[in-house]
């Protein structure tokens, strides 16, 4: 406590820093729990105030040790989890710096969740995991989805069901309601892990369409139960708060679950009925929820809200006295405005600003003004209406303290770009100027636009009166506006020289101005006029004050002001607004500018493929130098992975991995014989121990998921259960389709995580899918069988056509031990074994008798995108169990190498 206070003062920190660190390390390793807890408390509180602690390796390791130690008490574990989080927040590199440490530590942290008995530890761990998922590396966390869903389901569905006869842990409920803390935390973790349908290009990882349907149903069930609970009438105020907590956190989450339009409609109507609630907090939260729902679920939600509930919302706008709520109402209106209802909404908002009884904070009024400006520009179908509203808005600004240069500047840009608007706008501006209290924004806009197009209003107001009008306004506005008026005057002089003497007088007067800018301008303009007069050359003026070219600023500066608006809806909304803005503003922009404008329209992101492995947290780091995903290439494989890998190249089924704990079988099948590039891979995990294996989860990691990958992994099913009883098995399957030739070394990695007898295990294995896997043997398709003559002609043709491009040679392959069992392995035996091996791969042997020591083989490899390739291979057997492989393919490039490598893998020892 004292120490924490000390950290508020810098000098003190400097002096005692080392002392404190020493003491902390000592306390952290103390055997007395109370000392350790004090130290952890200190770390938790101070950890984020100064980053010294986080950069001290002794302290971070100390805290982590407590976290992972199986003997720490639950208090210690909870505290260490959160203090570790505090340290991590101020220094991400604790986990990112050292790759091995990162893998190891994150595995440890994630495994804390396996302890399902103890919700209290879960509660402290989830924020830590959420932070890792959000800022460090989400790819580690996706596999937690089933576990986390289970917690939520237990809480919301089972925890509240009255009929359940199972004795349910009391911890999952609170004040007769599901435990709100657990729920909000779990939900916020889930929303990070699952990307909503509208934000495909965000770096969240799981798309709803590849989440297991069972999980998805569970999650949806949770939402519906929560809505049911939410409408229940509670008496106790605490109970009601909890009820709201659960309700709103799940409704906000629901849009991520790919709901049907009907479901959205239902939740919207449930929410809207809450708008009439007597409790202010509920109204606020409902509006907040609606804003989120409308911006994330798009059209169905928006339609449901605006067709039925617009009146209600306007009613709220006009009666509500809380600025927080008004702000939300305005946000909501802003979210669902479009071309259809823009007039109604803008009118409503204008009325609100105008109405004297709404003494809202000026801040809010200014916000609303900006929003009106954006909405009118974005959705106006009638440009004249747009001008009228904008001018009205500008004229208002005098009554409040709003000073929004952006609004009038934007208006001027649009008017200049649209010749059809010039006349109307100028006439309107003259009208506004003639009124007594023209606002400064109007004066500025008028100074600019009337200076540009004085001839358009010449029949309405002669040049002299226009000059008079400006001269009158000149003395009631700020210096910036004055400077603008000076420029306007010289422009007026350009079109109507008869006011020359007045203008000169005015400038002469302003030569005495105190403001240096005004003084300079008057002096310069005066000289220009005199110069033009003296030489009788009017062209000087014409050249100096040419008409404004169209503006080509593509983005609306007003949008920047909205930074704080739909933050709750995440980036998706901002992308939406900017893209709709740039497409719909074209209404207001002349044709010639529209071509350059279209460049500014964001290109829609390419649709993502549906693999669970689309996981790259850091876009800049996602590919290593060879173009492979960073996440793939940094996996550390199990020591004896190659054995299973080689087996998988040559056999369609077998053992992938064995250890004292677990055995993994695989089977590769081709579901459709017409598509021999698509495989179904099933895995079986067998528990070899006497204990249960728990927390089993797996990931299939592709070498590339972005930028035209060589193969794609699809439909990854989860292991059929997370727990394997002793000597029992659990199965899993996924599909893989080969799009282009690739190196067998880039095959997918299978990461298996499980817990057994207190130890936490991770096994990373490479599951071989080579080009040879796509071979179809001639027994299935006899038409592919080649005779020797055909083989020789084709070999020659290929040599002539491609030269050495389509060829690859590996010599001196030492054959497997099996081949050399007998010391006196003869030529015949050697050849026989070679033939068997190659046949097993799926190659076709060309029958011949002319060359004894060599076998000729042929085959066709299949790919989805690039079609099929023929492949010819000569395997020459030498004495001493050594073989040479020469491979030719019908295409140039590395395919021949890939096939030869596969063959080598199978043959070599």
């Amino acid at each position: 406590m004292t120490l924490e206070l000390l950290y508020e003062h810098k000098e003190v920190v400097e002096k005692i820093n080392d002392e404190v660190n020493y003491q902390l390390v000592k306390d952290l390793s103390s055997s007395d729990d109370n000392f350790v807890m004090l130290a952890l408390n200190f770390v938790g509180v101070v950890g984020k105030l100064t980053n010294r602690l986080a950069y001290n390796d002794d302290i971070t390791t100390g805290v982590f040790k407590i976290l992972r130690s199986p003997t720490s008490s639950i208090y210690l574990k909870k505290k260490s989890a959160l203090s570790f989080l505090a340290l991590l927040k101020s220094n991400h590199s604790i986990l990112t710096e050292d790759l091995q440490r990162k893998q190891l530590w994150i595995q440890r942290i994630l495994s804390l969740l396996d302890d399902t008995e103890n919700y209290r530890l879960t509660l402290a761990t989830i924020p830590l995991i959420e932070f890792i998922a959000k800022y460090i590396d989400p790819s580690y966390c996706t596999r937690l989805l089933p576990q986390v869903t289970e917690i939520l389901y237990n809480c919301v569905v089972i925890g509240t069901s009255t009929s359940s006869d199972k004795q349910f842990p009391l911890e999952y409920t609170f004040a007769n309601m599901p435990n709100p803390w657990l729920i909000t935390k779990v939900v916020s973790l889930l929303s990070i892990l699952i990307a909503s349908p509208t934000e495909r290009d965000s770096n969240s990882l799981l798309q709803t369409n590849n989440i297991d349907t069972e999980l998805l149903n569970k999650l949806r069930k949770c939402v519906s139960v929560a809505i049911e609970l939410g409408t229940r009438q509670g008496q106790d105020p605490m109970e009601r708060i909890v009820q709201n907590t659960v309700l709103f956190s799940l409704i906000n989450f629901a849009s991520k679950l790919d709901p049907s339009d009907e479901a959205i409609g239902n939740s919207v109507s449930a929410l809207c009925s809450l708008l009439a609630s007597k409790e202010i907090n509920i109204r606020y939260l409902t509006l907040d929820s609606l804003v989120k729902l409308c911006s994330s679920s798009g059209k169905p939600a928006i339609d449901a809200v605006r067709y039925k509930n617009l009146d209600m919302i306007f009613h709220l706008l006009n009666t509500e006295r809380d600025s927080s709520i008004v702000r939300k109402v305005v946000d909501l209106l802003y979210t669902f405005t479009d071309a259809e209802n823009v007039k109604i909404i803008v009118d409503g908002l204008l009325q609100y600003i105008l109405s004297p009884k709404n003494l809202a904070e000026p801040q809010i009024k200014s916000d609303i003004a900006v929003k009106i400006a954006i909405l009118t520009e974005k959705y106006a179908t009638d440009i004249n209406w747009f001008v009228l509203i904008s001018l009205k808005l500008l004229s208002l600004t005098s009554s409040t303290t709003i000073n929004d240069d952006e609004i009038w500047q934007r208006l001027c840009q649009i008017v200049v770009n649209n010749p059809s608007l010039h006349k109307l706008t100028c006439e309107q501006l003259v009208d506004y100027l003639c009124k007594k209290q023209a606002s400064e924004a109007i004066v500025k806009a008028a100074a600019f636009l009337l200076g540009e197009y004085p001839s358009l209003v010449a029949d309405k107001i002669p040049g002299v009166s226009l000059f008079g009008l400006f001269a009158e306004k000149y003395f009631s506005v700020s210096n910036v506006a004055k400077a603008m008026i000076l420029t306007t005057m010289i422009k007026l002089y350009k079109t109507s020289p008869e006011i020359g003497s007045n203008v000169i007088k005015f400038f002469q007067l302003e030569l005495n101005s105190l403001d240096i800018e005004l003084q300079t301008r008057s002096f310069e303009y005066l000289n220009i006029i005199q110069l033009a007069k003296a030489s009788g050359n009017v062209e000087v003026l014409q050249v100096l004050f040419e008409p404004m070219p169209p503006f080509n600023s593509k983005s609306n500066p007003l949008l920047k002001r909205l930074g704080s608006l739909p933050t709750s809806a995440g980036s998706a909304t901002l992308i939406n607004t900017s893209s709709t803005a740039s497409s719909s503003t074209s209404v207001l922009v002349p044709k010639r500018a529209s071509s350059s404008r279209s460049i500014g329209v964001p290109v829609p992101p390419p649709p993502r493929r549906s693999t669970t492995n689309d996981i790259n947290s850091n876009i800049d780091l996602s590919e290593d130098f060879s173009g492979k995903d960073f996440y793939y290439s940094r996996q550390i494989l199990a020591p004896n992975w190659r054995e299973g890998f080689t087996r998988m190249i040559s056999h369609k089924q077998g053992v992938l991995f064995t250890s004292s704990l677990i055995k993994v079988f695989y089977r590769i099948t081709t579901p459709n014989s017409q598509q021999s590039y698509a495989f179904h891979i099933s895995l079986a995990f067998i528990n070899l121990t006497e204990w249960e294996i728990t927390g089993l989860s797996t990931q299939v990691i592709a070498s590339k998921t972005q930028s035209n990958p060589e193969y794609v992994i699809m439909n990854v099913n989860l292991p059929s259960a997370a727990t394997i009883k002793p000597h029992k098995r659990v199965e899993q399957s996924y599909e893989l389709s080969v799009r282009k030739p690739f190196d067998v070394e880039d095959s997918p990695i299978l990461a298996i995580h499980f817990k057994c007898g207190g130890s936490i295990n991770t096994i990373n294995l490479k599951t071989a899918i080579g080009m040879t896997t796509t071979l179809v043997s001639s027994e299935v398709n006899p038409s592919m069988h080649l005779t020797l003559a055909q083989f020789i002609t084709r070999w020659k043709t290929l040599s002539e056509a491609l030269g050495r491009d389509g060829e690859y040679q590996i010599s001196g392959i030492k054959l497997k031990k099996d081949f050399k069992k007998a010391e006196t392995i003869g030529l015949e035996d050697g050849l026989l074994l070679l033939v068997q091996t190659v046949k097993r791969l799926g190659f076709d042997i060309v029958e011949q008798t002319s060359v004894h020591s060599t076998i000729f083989v042929s085959g066709i490899v299949h790919t989805k995108s690039e079609g099929n390739f023929g492949c010819l291979m000569k395997i020459q057997y030498q004495e001493n169990g050594v073989a040479n492989v020469t491979c030719k393919t019908t295409t140039a490039g590395p395919l021949a190498k890939y096939i030869a490598e596969c063959t080598r893998n199978v043959l070599a020892k």
Partner: protein, 133 residues
């Protein structure tokens, strides 16, 4: 101002922190208890969740993206624990036993996250700590 705890760097110099507190005070106390919600935006990155218990305001500043109602639960739980610990708590308890109030806060929150929500557990733990002195 009875208790205050910063979980994130607000500013290096303590004067600015004091200013922030004063601003928060002005903002909250100007709000109508009956007709306004318990939530208000404070700055570009923070919103305030507050609740009044008799003469005492409990205010939490949270990220704009966080769910509001859970923080009301936080506050309520904190008050319940204070109440149970001191036995019908009043402002004076907190004023004179501020170190105990801080101790309770530390047992409930670490690094800005809640770490224990079971009232029984908290009270058991607090009574152990209380007896240590």
């Amino acid at each position: 101002m009875r208790l205050v705890r910063w979980f994130d760097v607000h500013s290096s110099d303590s004067q600015r922190s004091q200013d922030a507190i004063a601003q928060i005070y002005r903002l909250i106390s100007s709000r109508d208890h009956k007709h306004q919600s318990n939530f208000v935006e404070f700055s570009d990155s923070t919103k305030l969740i507050y609740r009044r218990y008799a003469g005492l305001y409990f205010v939490m500043g949270v990220d704009l993206l966080d769910d509001e109602p859970i923080y009301l639960c936080h506050i309520h739980l904190f008050v319940e624990v204070l109440d149970a610990f001191f036995g019908n708590v009043c402002e004076l308890d907190i004023v004179f036993n501020f170190y105990k109030a801080y101790m309770i806060m530390d047992e409930m929150f670490i690094g800005g996250e809640i770490q224990e929500i079971s009232k029984d557990m908290l009270l058991e733990r607090l009574s152990i700590l209380d007896r240590l002195d």
